[in-house]
């Protein structure tokens, strides 16, 4: 295996919204490399549809404190309130900055940035739905990704495209660099660097039906988890109410923000029963549970009574064309129905990881529940957990999170690099990875231990046992299944032994991270004997503030996780019952 060595002051792993925003901040101040397994513009930020919230007050009176209130309430009081304040306050400048860099937001007649309604966002702490989501039709993420990449191109940022980071070297608690695999050649690259930001996105591929890209396999969290860094709040995984039936392709909440209605098989607007005040615009955890309940009570539509309808037929062709062009095209392409005329079959789809690599508000990675900072290592975006989303993220707050905390990661890298001297990484730093790869190449391929078969069983079992509703029984069952899958993974084999674009080899290593993410998720879920936000235990249906107003920290231990806890940082909002 050829080994190539590079030296940089800072490295950013990932070129989605979070990684690119960090790069823009850091690049002018250091020798910086952005390493990304996909071409930057292929990152899943580009799939985001509905919008990005900020209290610009372009349509009606608004205030970032209301945004903060909604975020905290939406989080089921698990978000850290000082972090939420930062998110909502800095949101305004973050949106304006993107506009200045060229982001083509949709506009109001007066030329200002257009804003729309979204789930869980209200004015005056719950009075009525708020026009807060800034958007560019239903391709807001695409525009953010393009704009940030364009900015990086104009700055001459150095990219290593289609390089996959697969290891980090930390010695005596100090980061020495990262090791990457070059997809086009199979060469190993040692990146000597003292500051690394992980912005590798989510891990929705632990479930079968998901809105996430094939590439979202939790690499960043996995790499750190294997080095003993904990993962925070892994039991909180968001299921978006409206995925296209069976495919999981997302139909943005913007559809309901613009007036779309959910209906059961009888055409009933069932959300009126579950959230009388804001109905279809209730937060995602509630709507997903409502749909799952409708289905389990026999109110689902279709031959297997396993979906409900998203009805847009009353919105009119003009609104649909102007404001929801892409998602209605998805329906035409993949379901072959005309959403202007017919309601769309939908079911909840695995969507967003609230949990991830623990960080403080400066995007510095924490190595334990006491808040010890791991010097030189940062994380931002969906891979990280600050925590601003707590037990349930509000729509539009992730695009915000990636730019606000992506920027902060970049700033922290600059601070660290200016205060420290370059270190040196040893030539043997890549030995572990080389060995791992050589093992995969040497082992003879068998179907039983193929990547795809193990992954399929993982995704199907997680879907079955650890999705919207969970119980001690389903989680214990899944723990056993995960143990078996881990045993099988120890013998995983690949058919392709080539060097050039060996994506099977890469998928084999990604499967390791998917197993890690699943193990941490299930262990954390099993230990949380309450229901809060997206984590819904049928055997513990109530929220338990006395015992569980705390973040979980899962440490890798053999094939499961050791759990520790950290208190939630409260602020001006006292926990109350979450009703809408």
């Amino acid at each position: 295996m050829k080994i190539v060595k590079h030296s940089f002051d800072g490295v950013i792993v990932g070129a989605g919204g979070a990684g690119l925003r960090a790069a823009i901040e850091a690049a002018p101040h250091m020798k910086l490399a952005v390493i990304t397994k996909l071409y930057p513009t292929r990152s899943h930020t580009g799939a985001a549809q509905g919008g990005m919230s900020a209290a610009l007050a372009n349509v009606e009176e608004d205030n970032w404190n209301w945004h903060a209130f909604d975020t905290v309430k939406g989080s089921d009081y698990l978000a850290d309130q000082p972090a939420v304040d930062i998110l909502c306050k800095e949101a305004i400048d973050a949106v304006i900055e993107l506009e200045h860099w060229g982001l083509p937001f949709s506009r109001l007649d007066n030329g200002k940035i257009a804003q729309r309604r979204f789930g869980g966002h209200t004015v005056k702490e719950g009075e009525s739905p708020a026009f807060r989501a800034c958007y560019a039709a239903d391709r807001t993420g695409h525009m953010i990704l393009q704009t940030l990449y364009q900015k990086c191109v104009s700055m001459g940022v150095t990219f290593f495209d289609e390089f996959q980071v697969l290891d980090i070297k930390i010695e005596d608690g100090i980061c020495q660099g990262v090791i990457a695999y070059e997809l086009a050649t199979g060469d190993i690259h040692i990146f000597e660097t003292r500051a690394v930001t992980f912005a590798t996105g989510g891990f929705g591929k632990i479930f079968k039906v998901s809105s996430n890209a094939h590439s979202l396999t939790g690499d960043g969290p996995g790499i750190l988890y294997q080095k003993g860094i904990p993962l925070e709040d892994m039991e909180f995984y968001q299921f978006h109410p409206t995925g296209i039936y069976r495919l999981g392709i997302l139909l943005s909440e913007a559809a309901r923000g613009e007036g779309g209605i959910l209906r059961n098989k009888d055409g009933e607007r069932f959300m009126e029963r579950y959230a009388p005040s804001i109905k279809d615009l209730a937060p995602r955890d509630m709507v997903s549970r409502a749909i799952a309940t409708e289905i389990s009570e026999g109110n689902g539509a279709g031959p297997d009574s396993d979906y409900v309808y998203l009805d847009l037929t009353h919105l009119g062709a003009e609104t649909i064309k102007k404001k929801l062009p892409d998602i209605t095209d998805f329906v035409r392409t993949y379901v072959k129905i005309e959403p202007i005329e017919e309601p769309i079959p939908v079911q909840p789809t695995a969507h967003y990881a609230m949990g991830g690599i623990p960080t403080d508000v400066y995007s510095r990675v924490l190595s334990d529940e006491k808040g010890t900072v791991l010097p030189g290592v940062y994380a931002a975006g969906e891979a990280a957990c600050v925590s601003v989303h707590g037990a349930n993220r509000l729509g539009t707050n992730s695009l915000l999170d990636i730019v606000v905390f992506g920027k902060r990661a970049g700033q922290s890298m600059v601070d660290y690099v200016t205060q420290t001297k370059p270190n040196s990484i040893s030539d043997s730093a890549s030995d572990d990875l080389s060995k791992k790869i050589q093992n995969l190449i040497d082992k003879e391929h068998t179907d039983e231990f193929s990547v795809a078969n193990i992954r399929k069983d993982l995704q199907e079992s997680m879907e079955e046992n650890a999705k919207i509703f969970r119980t001690k029984e389903t989680l214990e069952k899944q723990t056993e299944i995960l143990e078996e899958l881990r045993d099988r993974y120890e013998n995983v084999t690949i058919f392709d032994k080539s060097k050039v674009h060996n994506s099977e080899l890469v998928e084999a290593i990604e499967l390791d991270y998917l197993l890690d993410m699943s193990e941490a998720t299930v262990a954390s879920a099993l230990a949380r004997n309450e229901s809060r936000g997206a984590h819904s235990r049928q055997d513990f249906p109530d929220r338990d503030d006395t015992n569980f107003m705390k973040h979980s920290f899962a440490f890798k231990k053999d094939n499961t996780a050791n759990l520790k806890y950290k208190d939630v940082e409260l602020g001006k909002y006292e926990p109350m019952e979450r009703k809408y």
Partner: protein
């Protein structure tokens, strides 16, 4: 039902040139071509290589030639292309392995047209204003996902890979017609070049190839007109 896939394969480590391989895959009419490629890769022949990520037509990874036309494999269903299905890598860019081509020349052309907002004026602390009408003028070209389907369907590009190609022009258009941008002169200067917009012979292949429904040929015509008006 059984679908017969013929895939043009090339392994740089063992082949001197590409060769066709046949696969029979059991598939539903509603499945995506990408799903079929995955079935082969995951359960039959792990060495088959192609790019993909989002699986629903928004990331631009999997443009390929399907039954002679450029498409995204994740955006076409089995029932739309018939049986058998012939799949080849997109043309005009060097093939690296199987359906994977070298995208560097494509991105180099993209970078040539200064694909970023140019405006030296201090914008103040609020957004720049833009009327919905002005915003509409470049709406179509903001949709580009840089999949290269257009450029690699262009007969001019096949014979002259120095031509910047439709995708780069689309991305220039996105800024030239943005009322906030002030880089029009510089960009048009670049596109006036022998390898710029005037190489286009309006074959319209690009427009039919674009998976985002962008009026690519029209965008090129807009740029040609703007260049003439500005000179």
């Amino acid at each position: 039902m059984d679908i017969n896939l013929k895939i043009l394969r090339y392994d740089p480590e063992s082949d001197r040139k590409g060769h066709w391989e046949n696969y029979i895959v059991d598939a539903e009419p509603e499945e995506r071509i990408l799903d079929l490629l995955h079935k082969i890769k995951w359960f039959e022949d792990g060495s088959l290589s192609f790019r993909r990520s989002c699986a629903h037509g928004v990331c631009g990874s999997d443009a390929m030639v399907i039954n002679g036309e450029n498409m995204l494999a994740c955006q076409v269903l089995v029932k739309e292309v018939g049986n058998p299905i012939k799949i080849e890598p997109i043309r005009g860019l060097p093939v690296v392995k199987d359906l994977i081509v070298d995208m560097e020349p494509f991105f180099d052309s993209y970078k040539k047209v200064m694909p970023y907002l140019i405006n030296e004026k201090e914008p103040g602390d609020r957004e720049r204003l833009q009327s919905p009408e002005d915003r509409d003028k470049f709406e179509d070209t903001t949709k580009c996902i840089l999949c290269a389907a257009c450029t690699t369907s262009c007969p001019v590009f096949w014979t002259a890979d120095t031509y910047v190609g439709p995708a780069a022009i689309v991305n220039a258009h996105r800024f030239v017609f943005d009322s906030r941008d002030e880089g029009t002169k510089q960009r048009l200067e670049i596109l006036k070049d022998v390898n710029g917009a005037f190489r286009c012979r309006t074959a319209f292949n690009c427009t039919s190839a674009c998976p985002r429904g962008i009026q690519v040929t029209k965008a090129i015509e807009d740029i040609k007109r703007e260049t003439l008006l500005n000179s």
